[in-house]
């Protein structure tokens, strides 16, 4: 009885000391774990967090997806509206992806207009969707020169625990795959477009791909899928987007120099990961 009450306060004490140490010296804390070949949340360097995807839960959106990558939670919704196409591209629709990192998801984001991180993520997501050609914009045309579909793909992060880019891309693709557009007919005489509530058809997506992010610490330790604690401590961050046929769509690297061997290793791991995620 007395021995158990003596050990309880000391284990609570130890966890408190460990938490204080983590706050005051994050880098040393992480390095101590790395030295033991493990990460603070118990994963090995190569391990990914559990991913769960839930589609079609939001009835007000034309397509929606909720992705949880570990604790990182991202909700994505697609809204379709009708607009006039650009004069020099009369048969192309619009695809407008955006991500919002509101103050709710992490203490480091303040309320207000999109901060730097959100703007950078939006831009990278836009590039990824455009570069991959996942959706042919001419398939969004209703009547050339008069009416085209505009797809607003909006992601909102609910809980930010690192690696928002991977989760957001997965959410956007999930939502696009879940999107159905009503059949639209353009009336030449009145210039109005009317849609039918009864017939809806899904979007034609050309490829299936996923992105994988890595962080490199001290040029030799490559951690995959970093959490919010590990992300700011990484020297280099590397993101690889590969599709399910093994074709490389894009690689982004920031922070410092990495060896070619590391880059190739990451690309191979990304290819394995895409096949894993397909199920």
């Amino acid at each position: 009885m007395s021995s158990s009450s003596a050990t309880n306060p000391s284990t609570a004490d130890e966890t408190l000391r460990a938490q204080i140490f983590q706050r005051l010296h994050p880098r040393v804390y992480l390095e101590r774990f790395i030295a033991e070949k493990i990460r603070p949340d118990g994963r090995t360097f190569d391990e990914w967090r559990n991913v769960s995807v839930n589609v079609g839960s939001i009835s007000t959106a034309d397509g929606s997806a909720l992705v949880r990558m570990g604790d990182t939670t991202i909700v994505c919704g697609v809204k379709a509206e009708i607009a006039e196409p650009e004069l020099d591209r009369p048969d192309l629709g619009y695809l407008v992806p955006n991500i919002d990192l509101p103050a709710i998801c992490s203490p480091k984001f303040k309320p207000g207009p999109p901060a730097e991180e959100a703007q950078v993520l939006s831009d990278r997501l836009n590039e990824a969707l455009v570069a991959s050609g996942v959706l042919s914009l001419s398939s969004l045309c209703i009547h050339p020169g008069k009416a085209v579909w505009t797809l607003y793909v909006d992601c909102t992060c609910i809980n930010y625990d690192g690696n928002a880019f991977d989760a957001a891309l997965l959410a956007m693709l999930g939502a696009l795959r879940n999107t159905t557009l009503p059949k639209a007919t353009y009336d030449e005489e009145t210039g109005r477009t009317t849609c039918s509530r009864k017939t809806r058809s899904p979007l034609q997506l050309t490829r299936n791909f996923a992105s994988t992010s890595f962080g490199v610490l001290d040029t030799s330790h490559v951690l995959s899928d970093p959490t919010a604690f590990e992300e700011p401590l990484m020297d280099v961050t590397l993101t690889v987007i590969v599709d399910d046929r093994g074709e490389l769509i894009s690689t982004t690297e920031s922070g410092g120099a990495i060896s070619e061997e590391t880059l190739l290793r990451c690309i191979n791991r990304a290819k394995e990961r895409v096949l894993q995620l397909k199920d």
């Binding site: 939001i58 009835s59 959106a61 309320p111 999109p114 909102t156």
Partner: protein, 258 residues
Amino acid sequence: MAQSAHDRRRINGPEESFPPIFDDDDEDITLNTQRSRAPGDIRPIFLQPGLISQANGSAYIETEKTKIACAVYGPRQSKTTTYSEKGRLNVEVKFTPFSCTRRRAPMRDAEDRSIGVAIHQAIVSSIRLELFPKSTIDVFITIIENDGIEGCIASGSLAASTALADAGIEMLGLVASCSAAIVGDEIQLDPSEAEARASTGSVILACMPALDSITSIWQSGQMSADMALKVILLQLNTRCIDIHSIVAQSLLEHRKSN
């Protein structure tokens, strides 16, 4: 008409785009207003505390088509330099662009702020702010799917109160909130968007059943004073007691499983 100003911080689409007009729009409206529940029944509530790991306290509430996530950060240092004896409560509400039938611009507008004020009013009297001088408690609410503003305010207050309890902030009691719409002589509890549009007036009540006290009454529309009192004292109050037990239950279960 969606007027999108060119926002330099976001990826922009075309200057103007319009939501699709459906050819059977006129018929659909009349179908939707037929209520599938009894007038005294509220929609089933799913309440889950502790969903957001980064926040001090959090809650997610879902009632049929209304989905709201709430996070509480605090007490943390006040941004302003003026000394305040009591703590400050800051409630911010954000709609996701896909939460309503017509796409909302990501910018915060008057509707967000009025819901924020309503929720602030509902929960501020329940928190012991005098224990946190010079500090701010931030409550952030994200409305993921919206089915009626009254439902949003009621569910938002519930989520905020649960999140505050989850954060361990000292409170006088849990706040339970419920809304009602008046259609002619009939009182319908917990109206959805279509039902609220068809009604002549609505009442939202927030109270602390544990202390038998009311924190906020938000009434809009046409109704006689007798009708309003009848709604509040008889129906909403009793409903709030039921809702209070749901909130307490979910908090206890969450604590037990951790």
